[in-house]
Symmetry: C2
Subunit: 419 residues, 2 copies
């Protein structure tokens, strides 16, 4: 039997769209790795009735309910009260929680008497056990409800993450004899989703029941995700690999990567393998490509740096783009993007460089190029590819995201073809 | 009566944590702006039983149910089948959907016969009306269920966003006579959340019922959010302002900003107001600060660019940091961060610059400084503030995020104090 989990997030800030719920994805990923399947994710208001009803729903549907948020010291934090009502129990004081709060305040430079609200944080539902939170003032709660478990975590992401990693995952792994879940993504490109589905229909119908397949289309490619459930991780991995071999016989020409992942991850791996260094020169992506590259641990081994040349003057003064080219062709042109890329290679002394220039909008650029126009260049000083894209319908955020992804994908392709 | 909405997201990719559900925050924000309150957000699997049960729950709890995902052409897309079962009706063909698909394929450079799956996309539940989707192949569905509404949108973010903006929000605004919701955040700093709550307790108890208050603690500050419901937007704004004036009498010394927002937004507004320009020199933040600044539309008016000096050689060659300072103090030092900031001002010819250097981890930096150590500098060439922080427990992503936020907040403070 698969162990099932429900994730509950408590807090109005999610329901008004003020913050994006990144906690649930983190928790789901980590549960998956120990074979626990997330049944559903539910976000409800900071109101007693809603929280209690959500506990009830979670317990009915799942073996483990992981709750984030609503544990703070202020009036809008109602999770502990709701838990007591749900469990039909009172609160008891845990002095060790207070000791932790005193220590935390001291480390943040507050030396003060604890107030009533701090004292309230040390009150724990009688039927729960607490787990010390060295990242913040609200303790984590672990409550057995018959043969099921409710776990309460603070909603502040770095506190939640620390507690999940240090405490919750090891304990769950210990208590539950779970099946293993293996996921693997492959990346397909150059064929519409519907045509791909028809091409591989027979193969798809014969995939055994313990493996499921999902199509995750992006703008320029499709992720095919295999998920397999069973007892033995290696056997599951082999079974998926076997399916991928069959897929290759039918649709191998569309397979871009057998191990799909974020392009910054894939690019990093290839650069390390080939011993190449990289820099970026970014205009419309504003540093986002550099930010994606440096989000990968170990990127300092191949990434030297970036010049974000938002102002035209930085394009000429730092990257050495010629003023004549800008005057003749405008800043959003093949000539300028190529000079930016070559300039980055030279200034930062790297084997390769990526450059972007375009109009992210919503306002037109200085030379009145249409919003959505963008040039990307990849160069090694000797060989260069320049490519134009046009995304008129995207908002600023999506435009930057898609251009960055395209640039990273082009760089992967460039390295594969030239090294 | 407030109009209530439930948001449903369909798709295993959210439940395994492969993607973060950013759609719900976007939809919630836009509903809020037209006075529709989101009751809950629920993410369920691509399975008929779960989807149908979620429709039922949404309709019971809310006036409007907005569903994203599961409308694609492949086998794992089951939302339309689930909707038919829920509505107890069949499918009919809409030729106009096919015309749209042909047009879309042509614009993407595919000229091909439509296949069966494309034809299936033109099948619409008999009880639904369709709304053309010029961003993708799956049409949007609008279904009246007695006096309630179910709206189905594709899960691909840029398709969903375009349809929400162009079609859904205008239609909902037209159909529903909603109350207005006004949110306003203020930013408080320098006092623990619990002490603040005690300090303002009397005031908080006397806030009228139509205004609610929430505490949203961050690592270095607290957002206080006021939400007011009523008929008249201006009256609600005035009522909140009145409460803020009272708050200022009691706790004014802790108020950092009367209009809280993302620091990159606040900084941008101040820079425009004071007519100042900015650049960044980033090591450990890897371009993330530049990326945040340029995420704001209009940032090209004050942001000239960035040098991401990931490699030490870029610190010396592009930013002009002295090799002696690096040898003597290491790259993670007050001396180096200050030289980076001053170098950025000079190289990119800006009034101000922000610089960061630190060890994001998980591996130690080249000079063996402990993971989590970071220096931030803000300078105008003449005056400079340098500040050291230490975050040993954070993962790479959070470290970069928190250092970037701190840097932006320091820059806001610097401008406020010096201009």
């Amino acid at each position: 039997m698969k162990t099932k989990a429900t994730l509950l997030t408590i807090g109005d800030e999610i329901l008004i769209g003020q913050i994006v719920d990144t906690n649930s994805a983190f928790i789901a990923q980590h549960l998956n790795q120990i074979g626990i399947e997330v049944e559903e994710i539910l976000s409800v208001k900071d109101e007693l009735f809603h929280i209690i009803e959500a506990f009830q729903r979670g317990i009915e549907k799942s073996d483990v309910v992981i709750v984030t948020g609503g544990l703070g010291p202020t009036k809008d934090d109602k999770t502990k009260t709701a838990l007591c009502q749900f469990l039909n129990c009172g609160l008891i004081r845990e002095e060790k929680v207070l000791e932790n709060i005193v220590q935390l305040f001291a480390s943040r430079g507050y030396t003060k008497e604890l107030n009533n609200l701090n004292h309230d944080q040390a009150l724990i539902p009688e039927k729960s056990t607490f787990i010390q939170n060295r990242y913040g003032t609200a303790p984590c709660l672990w409550t057995a409800v018959e043969d099921k478990i409710i776990i309460n975590l603070p909603g502040v992401p770095f506190e939640m993450k620390g507690l999940m990693r240090d405490e919750i995952i090891p304990r769950l792994k210990n208590q539950l004899s779970s099946e293993v879940i293996v996921h693997r993504d492959i990346l397909v490109s150059g064929i519409p989703e519907s045509d791909l589905a028809i091409l591989v229909e027979e193969w798809e119908n014969e995939i055994p029941d313990f493996i499921s397949l999902a199509y995750l289309p992006n703008r320029t490619s499709i992720d095919l995700r295999f998920s397999a459930f069973g007892q033995n991780e290696v056997e599951l991995q082999n079974a998926i690999q076997h399916q991928i071999e069959k897929f290759k016989e039918i649709a191998g020409q569309y397979l871009l990567s057998e191990h799909s992942g974020k392009p910054q991850q894939i690019l990093g791996e290839i650069l390390i393998q080939k011993g190449l260094t990289l820099s970026t020169a970014e205009s419309c992506t504003g540093g986002n490509i550099a930010s994606l590259i440096t989000s990968i641990s170990g990127s300092s081994n191949y990434f030297s740096g970036a010049v974000v040349s938002y102002a035209t003057s930085v394009k000429t003064s730092v990257l050495g783009v010629s003023q004549d080219a800008i005057n003749e062709f405008t800043v959003v042109s093949e000539q300028v993007v190529e000079q930016m890329a070559k300039g980055a290679c030279k200034v930062m002394n790297t084997d390769l460089a990526i450059a972007t220039t375009g109009v992210a909008g919503p306002n037109k650029g200085e030379d009145n190029k249409a919003v959505g126009t963008v040039w990307i260049s990849i160069t090694n000083g000797d060989k260069t590819i320049n490519k134009k894209f046009y995304y008129p319908y995207l908002d600023r955020e999506d435009f930057i995201k898609i251009v960055s992804n395209n640039a990273l994908n082009l760089a992967i392709q460039f390295v594969k073809e030239n090294y």
